[in-house]
């Protein structure tokens, strides 16, 4: 058999699955949005996670530098977990909402805990 003509299952071709009822352009846009959310959104989320954690640990009486070092070690791992989840979750809407709302809440918590300690 001619090896060139061997059919390749679409799932192995590395192309995103196209759901019925959605145009190719829509599918590409959905993948692009997911990539942006995973790379940038999860980064921002882990950034404010580090901020909130730092402020919370300081409030709990941990030395500032120890708190900072702890969060620096945790933030990349949180980013890693969030990044994989952002692709694994079937619902793009859920990924979008959790990352955006979560980041805003963490940023607010970090600021509130900071003010609590300085005020």
């Amino acid at each position: 058999m001619n090896p060139v003509s061997k059919p390749i299952p679409s799932s192995m071709s590395g192309k995103p699955e196209q759901r019925s009822g959605r145009s190719t352009a829509g599918a590409i846009a959905a993948v692009l949005l997911r990539v942006v959310l995973a790379v940038l959104g999860c980064y921002v989320f882990s950034w404010f996670f580090a901020a909130a954690g730092l402020a919370a640990l300081c409030l709990a009486g941990v030395d500032f530098h120890d708190a900072e070092k702890t969060m620096m070690m945790l933030a990349p791992l949180v980013y890693l977990g969030m990044f994989l989840w952002a692709f694994a979750d079937r619902s793009l809407a859920r990924v979008c909402i959790l990352i955006v709302v979560g980041s805003i809440i963490l940023a607010w918590v970090a600021r509130a805990l900071e003010n609590l300690q300085l005020g």
């Binding site: 950034w47 404010f48 402020a55 030395d63 900072e68 620096m72 070690m73 990349p76 692709f87 940023a107």
Partner: protein, 564 residues
Amino acid sequence: MLANFRLTMTWIHTWFGLVLGYVLMACFFFGSLAVFDREIDRWAIPDTRFAPQPMPSYDNMMRFMFEDMLPHPSDMAATANRVKGALPAPEAMPMQTLYAFTTHRDPVLRVGAEFGIPNEPLNGSDEHEHVHGWGTLDPRSGKLLAEGSLRIGSEWFYPLHYNLNLHWGLVGYFLVGLAGFIMMVALVTGVIMHRKIFREFFTFRPAKKTQRSTLDLHNMTGVIALPFHFFFAFTGVLIFAASIFYPVSGFYLTKLHDHHEAIESQRTGLPLKPAGIAAPLASVDAMMEEAKRIWAARDMAGEVGYLRVEHLGDRNSYVSIYRAGSDRVIYEGTGIHFNGSTGAVILEDPPASTVGNISSYLMSLHLQHFEHWPLRWLYVLGGLLGCVCIATGFIFFVEKRKRRHAEYNNYGCRVVDALAVTAVTGMVIAAVAMLVANRLLPVDIADKGQWEVRVFWGAWGLALVHAALRSGPVANARINPAWKEQCLVLAALAVAAPVLNGWTTGDHLIQTLFVEPFWPVAGLDLCLLGCAAVSLWAARKLSLADQSELRVKPTLEGVDYGRG
């Protein structure tokens, strides 16, 4: 995102690995070279081919050198763009801070200073109110080395592995940081994809088809060094986390940070600001002796690795003296801080906290200031295994798709393959061409280092153009001849470099191995010859593979690939 979890993980692994793999290749390869950056420096600057020296006397030597030091013209120009009004003359700027740094592998020291300026910054939040000066001190003569020569190891290969030597804001750092992060992602997704992780330790079938044996090699190198790869990607991100990737305390919780900094300054007694009253500096040599005595009393006798003076010439000046980290993994410095004008101890750094110890253990294992030569070589091996893992990833990508792409007239494989050639042989050619240029360029040429940098990027660029021009056969599902041709070029360059080194400096291998052993130079010469041998072997294997592909070609006939 895809039909199931594993397919999604495969998609992430393939596409993120492909796009950032090119950056990762550079990080792993130049990171491997950076393990021996000081030794490469010795090769590149023959005037510094002598044994490592301890920190020299400040009172009798470094003081005079610092008195002559001026702000560096390049930093003068950079600062002039950041502040209001014209800068004062360099001679009129007061030196406020100075430092000297050495390690157990350095015959010459890095020295530098910060000079105060009266100008207001253009950007109100810019707290950088000084100009820098720097140089390399020869502790035998007390003189600075001539400007213009580039320490190829520690000033080019080493920073290349963490910022790509891109000086366009922090773009280089963020690209490498993202690539390092994607390395962690690729390792996790790679394990999820394959599952049979134990079996892959022992599976390598070199005699099988290229696609199969490439995948075996990809899995094997990925799995064998899995902890190494993950550790280096993670700690690499960690080293720059607080300053660049997650500068939370500098950009968001600034008030909390300043609050704790002020408390800490009270506790440590180290003045944050100058008093504005002039006072001379007491004997720094006596302080270095005292620091060594204190370390010995704490059962951690050691040499001075880093010396720093703050608020120089002011009554609030203080001198911080840190240990060289040669004898333990954790590079913590254990600083002893002295009042600059009285010479009395203000503060001894307390032992680090548990969290501090964990964090610096992780980073110190990456930075490797300790003296352990066999481990140093294992780092090189681990780094090169990482390169093999990434490179076989590219080749597998191409092998898996090239027949299909040939059928559909898709250019994807050609592009990926040409970039892979550039990232593998092209990158090594660039590095070795730089060393050859280092030996061929006249010694007294102004900005010799800049010419070496031009040769480096030029050679890499040529390798890309060559790989792209020769990529036609990939469109016919065959091997790009650029692989073989660049292997041959690399072999020639890697022989030329040690020959030129022997010819221009007299430090040929007989000299550096037997007559007067000098391992930094002999080691690099031997590695270059080893690189030449591997390149020739690879070129020969590629010829054989291409011939065998030609022999099976009849089975592919009958399909018009649209040669292009």
